[in-house]
């Protein structure tokens, strides 16, 4: 059967982070695009955050609200279900991606639709909904500009907020010219790489899909438990189209997205736009509470998705990752992300949040996922910008420990031997002193020569780009002894 939507790229072919990163680093065009984009947005975030005198208190409040939700998640979810049901929403519970995908496809089939329009949503990327629907003969059209670029480009998203951040405008022009006509209204001819012309092409291409579609699929930024209100924040107005024109709206929402009250929402609506796009206020904030007769979708569904979230919740040292509101500030500030881009992380969740969320949602079963907590220098820049104060570096180190336990459970590894050796050396000053006899000897042999490139395993990875001074013939320990005969004075 012929495909209805562009065939996307595949996460499956992407190797482990260090190898994937090496390949990305060689893409000079992408590195330029990323450096430009992240540098711009970082600067905007700093300005916007500094305008709010109570910024640090807001961050603390947000972290505390999210932690309270996590502590009483069952209660808030049941409350949300009750309020939504009372307002005319059909609530579904999905244990995993397969459950959620089936629920969405079944609704579409029951409605007799063979295409849906989509609002940008991380959770439907996480469960790969589009490909499931495609296999069921249902075309899912992305309507966010960047998601459209990714979809038409047979590509994969590389950023949470700006999934096409790795593309520049001349690449976008080529994609629009080449692909739009195959899946609907072609791009106007001629078309330049002026952002206004590209946006107009997207607007025209999408307009016919908005007007034609009978069903929309969204995610959800927040669900307010006591009123059953769903909240979506977006910047382009495409969300408004999806939320108002089609008759049926299905929202797939992670179970951690619930907030107790509308008052709590205020905190997040202040933090999210400033952290994410560097704007004071979010351009399009849609809030709806159930069905309003004669206005907007008359058939509302909410799919509450677990898909590993309860596993994250079960780990007291990792669960702060569930505070995440998908703002992308950690990606934009991350020096590793800036150089490597999103694809190397092997999932729709890249950057620091991907490195702590991916391994927790998916488990430590495969080597690619186990490599993610190590894809960080632990510089801590993400800790400082996170609007919900996720302690990224603590969780990264915690997950490294879990990855090591997983790796060494079956058989010992070379790294484990090295670390056991280091553990012995550092257990006592006498052990360190005896090892220092060796470094001093090496220092005498090398006589102050610095070490250049050489084919020693592991060391070569360091020496390929850096010279190292030869070890000194006298350690500090020895110097102290010589200066102060008889040890500590």
């Amino acid at each position: 059967m012929n495909r209805r939507t562009p065939e996307p790229g595949s996460w499956l072919g992407i190797p482990e982070f260090p190898r994937a990163a090496k390949a990305s680093l060689q893409d000079a065009e992408q590195r330029k695009n990323l450096t430009h984009a992240t540098t711009t947005i970082r600067a905007k975030r700093v300005v916007r955050a500094s305008e709010v005198p109570e910024w640090e208190e807001l961050r603390t409040a947000a972290a505390q609200i999210k932690d309270r939700v996590a502590r009483h998640l069952e209660q808030y979810l049941l409350q949300a279900e009750e309020a939504m049901t009372a307002a005319g929403v059909t609530v579904h519970w999905a244990r995993d991606a397969a459950d959620a995908n089936r629920i969405v496809a079944d609704i579409a089939k029951a409605k007799g639709v063979d295409e849906v329009v989509k609002i940008k949503s991380m959770v439907t990327q996480e469960i790969d909904l589009n490909e499931y629907l495609e296999a069921e003969g249902i075309a899912a059209w992305e309507t966010d500009l960047a998601e459209l670029i990714v979809q038409l480009g047979h590509d994969l998203p590389s950023h949470i907020l700006v999934p096409a951040i790795h593309r520049n405008r001349s690449e976008v022009r080529e994609i629009f010219k080449e692909e739009m006509g195959r899946y609907g209204r072609p791009a106007p001819e001629p078309i330049s790489d002026e952002p206004s012309e590209l946006a107009e092409a997207a607007r025209l291409h999408l307009r016919e899909k908005f007007l034609r579609s009978k069903m929309a699929v969204s995610g959800g930024n927040f669900i307010v438990a006591d009123t059953g209100t769903l909240v979506i924040v977006e910047s382009e107005g495409n969300g408004r189209m999806c939320l108002t024109l089609p008759e049926t709206l299905v929202s797939v929402v992670g179970i951690e997205k619930v907030l107790p009250t509308l008052e709590d929402l205020e905190v997040f609506l202040k933090l999210l736009p400033r952290s994410s796009t560097g704007e004071r206020m979010n351009p399009y904030t849609s809030m709806w509470t159930g069905v309003t007769p004669g206005d907007g979708p008359q058939d509302l569904h909410v799919v509450l998705l677990d898909n590993g979230r309860t596993n994250v919740l079960a780990d007291p040292d990792g669960r702060a990752a569930l505070r995440c509101i998908r703002c992308s500030a950690c990606l934009n500030i991350c020096p590793v992300y800036e150089r490597v881009g999103g694809h190397a992380y092997g999932s729709p969740y890249p950057g620091p949040i991907g490195a702590i969320l991916g391994p927790q949602l998916r488990g430590m079963g495969d080597a690619n996922t186990r490599a993610l907590p190590f894809a960080s220098t632990l510089c801590g820049a993400c800790n400082d910008v996170c609007p919900v104060r996720i302690p990224f570096t603590d969780i990264l180190v915690h997950l490294r420990h879990k990855a090591v336990e997983h790796k060494t459970a079956k058989h010992p590894t070379g790294e484990q031997l090295l670390m056991k050796g280091a553990g012995w050396v550092m257990k006592d000053g006498r052990n360190l002193a005896s090892v220092q006899l060796g470094t001093r000897f090496a220092g005498r042999v090398l006589r102050g020569k610095s070490l250049g490139p050489m084919p020693i395993p592991l060391a070569s990875r360091w020496l390929q780009a850096r010279d190292v001074e030869a070890p000194p013939t006298q350690t500090f320990r020895q110097w102290w002894k010589d200066e102060h005969e008889g040890g500590a004075k």
Binding site: F17, P18, A21, K22, L25, P335, V336, F374, A375, T377, L378, C379, G380, A381, N383, D384, T393, D394, V397, R400, H401, K402, A403, V404, E405, E415, Q416, M419, A422, G423, V425, M426, K427, D428, G429, L432, A433, V435, Q436, T439, S450, R461, W462, Q464, A465, R466, D467, V468, E469, P471, P472, T475, F476, R477, Q478, W479, W480, G487, A488, K489
Partner: protein, 250 residues
């Protein structure tokens, strides 16, 4: 504070073994400022290399050793924000991992007595002018762990600004990590090199003779790239500049 505080130097394994001029400068500086300095020989390492690589069981003995090495001292001073950060943030966590409440209590207490060098000078000794003389063009890299974990703030810069003869130049993108990251530099060598090369490039644009930082590990990383590129820029630890006097220059 009494007139001559008794300080235990935590030399840190890396400078003790690879760069003794750093702890030697620290001793000279502290003694010049009137401190009595001891070096408990039992000491080794903060354990960070094991902890951050995921080998927590192997790191626990270093916590025990740290606590015992420094139990008799009110002030423990280290010329490294990274090692101090590890002592403060990771030692209590490792003690909890070991299920040892007594060790957690002792590690927390030892951490509260542990100071990064610039913190000790500014906060405890109350000095920013340490009487140093260093007539060179210098740029300062703020190590990530000293800024974001140990939170030394701008203390190193306040100390450097008081150094006589110094020509201090701002480093572009100073707050960005140099890409060392301990075993990160071996596990993700290509990303690490890309970051170190960018940092070295920023250093070269300053025209500085010396790159200074409060952590030897960053200096080793950036300095390694600078040396390979024959840039002529030398690296120097904060303690070495602060210890330098006019007599040394003669």
């Amino acid at each position: 504070m009494n007139a001559s505080p008794h300080v235990a130097l935590f030399a840190t394994c890396i400078t003790d073994t690879m760069k003794p001029s750093v702890p030697i400068a620290t001793v000279k500086l502290l003694e010049r400022l009137g401190c009595r300095v001891s070096y408990p020989e039992r000491q080794t390492c903060c354990g960070q290399i094991m902890t951050n690589t995921g080998y927590w069981d192997e790191a626990v003995p270093t916590v025990r050793n740290y606590v015992r090495s420094f139990e008799d001292y009110d002030y423990i001073v280290a010329p490294s924000g990274s090692c101090v950060g590890s002592v403060r943030e990771q030692h209590p966590m490792l003690a909890r991992h070991a299920g040892d409440a007594g060790l957690e209590r002792d590690a927390t207490a030892a951490a509260s007595r542990t100071y990064e060098l610039s913190e000790f000078l500014v906060d405890v000794l109350g000095v920013t002018d340490v009487g140093a003389y260093f007539p060179h063009r210098v740029t300062y890299h703020p190590p990530c762990h000293s800024v974001r974990i140990a939170k030394v703030g701008d203390r190193p810069l306040r100390l450097l600004r008081e150094v006589r003869g110094i020509d201090l130049i701002d480093l572009p993108k100073a707050e960005e990590c140099c890409g060392f990251g301990g075993t990160f530099s071996v596990k993700n060598p290509d990303v690490s090199i890309a970051m170190a090369s960018d940092k070295a490039r920023h250093v070269r644009t300053t025209g500085a003779e010396y790159l200074v930082a409060g952590d030897h590990a960053c200096l080793m990383n950036i300095g390694g790239v600078l040396h390979r590129g024959r840039s002529g820029v030398k690296t120097i630890h904060l303690a070495e500049i602060l210890a330098a006097t006019e007599e040394d220059a003669r």
